[in-house]
């Protein structure tokens, strides 16, 4: 990928957006005793971790549990193309039976990852509800009827454009980059 991309979020903007998302969650949940937060590996899990801790800072309390969910074994493109998949860790030390779940991912694109995530969550019980939080919603590129409840930023772009979320914990800095179709060049 070429390094030239338009910056959608820098560190401060990302922090403000996460704060806004946290306030929206507080508005809807208020009492978190029945709410858990689950991030999809890998960037969704990092984001979920941040939101979990920020909620406690802002509200004094947060979801009763936080989990990391790997969806590799539930993907619908397994054996469909030449991509070889590697499973990451799932860390869910709690059940979601009758709980409210906030599922977190970085970018909502085709909706297939979220579909796999919903299926994977089913292994841990029947939740009271599942809400979806995404940092970036590429709403014109959906393959499935899936929408997010909490959205950081909506990005309208062509199919072959690319959005990259970089997080301090992984890349050493916080920013979201947008590469339009002309600037995308595969290695």
């Amino acid at each position: 990928m070429k390094k030239k991309g338009k910056v959608l979020f820098n560190t401060d903007q990302l922090k403000r957006t996460i704060d806004r998302l946290c306030f929206q969650i507080i508005e809807r949940h208020e009492d978190f005793s029945n709410t858990c937060i689950v991030g999809i590996q890998s960037k969704g899990a990092t984001l979920a971790d941040r939101i979990f801790h920020r909620l406690i800072e802002l509200h004094g309390s947060g979801p009763y549990a936080i989990g990391k969910l790997d969806i590799t074994f539930f993907r619908d493109d397994f054996r469909k193309d030449n991509k070889i998949l590697r499973a990451l860790e799932t860390d869910m030390n709690f059940l979601i039976e009758n709980k409210k779940v906030i599922l977190v991912d970085d970018v909502l694109y085709s909706g297939r990852t979220i579909q796999a995530g919903l299926q994977a969550l089913g292994n841990f019980g029947r939740p009271a509800s599942i809400e979806l939080l995404v940092l970036i919603d590429r709403r014109f590129n959906r393959h499935l009827p899936i929408q997010a409840n909490y959205i950081g930023l909506k990005v309208d772009a062509l199919d072959n454009a690319y959005v990259k979320v970089e997080l301090n914990e992984v890349e050493g800095q916080d920013r979201v980059l947008f590469y339009d179709a002309e600037n995308v060049e595969n290695d």
Binding site: D70, T72, F73, F74, F78, R79, K80, D81, N82, K83, I84, L85, R86, A87, L88, E89, T90, D91, M92, L95, Q119, A120, G122, N123, F124, G125
Partner: protein, 311 residues
């Protein structure tokens, strides 16, 4: 998503695997161990895969373990065992398999008493082959689950001292374990009656020790093997009692040693011969953990092999 690919499309033996292959299988097994401890233990990965379990030799653990692993991965399965089949009417291995493949089977899990049976089939049929034990040659998934169990129990494999004790001569578990653990950097000593230790085994980078007391003192892990009387055409030792008194491992013997030793056994155990009942059921024993890990490791092997073949 990180890419991860095995260097082979069949699992014939540990000998053919690279260190990276083994590490990938062990890492993936860890994720599957988490899956099989969920309230709902099933994932849909292999829903479009059909697997034939073909057992031309008796098996309890391996057969059930593969079957459960396949079901947990949502594969369709058919089971074949040679007793009660047309093999008794003289049908050859290749003909039997070709007929089963005509029913559109993607993978074959094969156990056979002939050395090289899995290799032979892999050269002649399109389906992916997984060796579930071929005679006295290899039993790769057992070695992988043993390595996984050692890693689980001790936290590492490199530089771990592993003693393999018993009938080394007739054991495919011993051979696959040696290949696997040496590749992962463990140190191995084998121990047993001289008649049951193959000549030139030192060429596999293992040491031979004939005293079970000395080898137990040395090791961190003792993998105890069964005396395979069904494969013996000669008398290799005078009696089971004599074997037990020289090479049998008892709890008293384990308790007399400095430091905790981990006891493994691939099963089936001949209680009172290679391992006394109180040793097999002692806290040092991880024999039942091996069985649990076996399902996770076989899920990883099936998943990673299926990962290579486009549907």
């Amino acid at each position: 998503m990180t890419e991860a690919k095995l260097s082979t499309r069949n699992l014939i033996g540990i000998k053919d695997l690279t260190v990276e292959d083994i590490k990938l299988i062990l890492a993936t097994s860890k994720q599957f161990k988490e899956v099989i401890n969920r309230p709902i233990k099933k994932v849909p990965s292999l829903r479009d895969v059909t697997i034939a379990n073909m057992f031309f030799e008796n098996s309890t653990r391996t057969k059930l373990s593969f079957e459960l692993a396949e079901k947990r991965l949502s594969a369709d399965i058919i089971n074949f065992s040679s007793s009660g089949s047309s093999v008794s009417k003289g049908e050859t291995l290749l003909d039997t398999v070709q007929n089963i493949l005509a029913m559109k089977v993607d993978m074959i899990v094969l156990r056979h008493s002939a050395v090289g049976a899995a290799h032979f089939l892999s050269k002649r049929v399109k389906a992916q082959i997984i060796n579930a034990g071929d005679g006295t040659h290899e039993h790769p998934t057992q070695a992988l689950l043993d390595a996984f169990s050692i890693q689980d129990a001790i936290g590492k494999i490199k530089d771990t001292k592993v003693a393999i004790i018993g009938d080394i001569m007739h054991s495919r578990v011993a051979l696959s374990n040696i290949f696997c653990l040496i590749k992962l950097g463990a140190k191995i000593k084998i121990c047993g009656p001289p008649t049951l230790i193959p000549k030139h085994i030192e060429s596999l980078n293992v040491e031979v020790e004939y005293s079970v007391d000395k080898v137990l003192e040395w090791c961190d892990v003792a993998n105890v093997l069964r005396i395979q009387t069904e494969r013996m055409q000669l008398q290799y030792f005078p009696s089971a009692n004599e074997y037990a008194s020289f090479f049998g491992i008892t709890k008293d013997k384990l308790d007399s040693l400095a430091g905790k030793k981990i006891i493994m056994h691939p099963g089936p155990i001949n209680r009172g011969v290679e391992l006394s009942s109180d040793a097999a059921d002692s806290p040092q024993s991880i024999i039942l953990d091996q069985v649990e890990n076996g399902v996770a490791v076989r899920m990883a092997v099936l998943f990673l092999l299926a990962n290579q073949a486009k549907a």
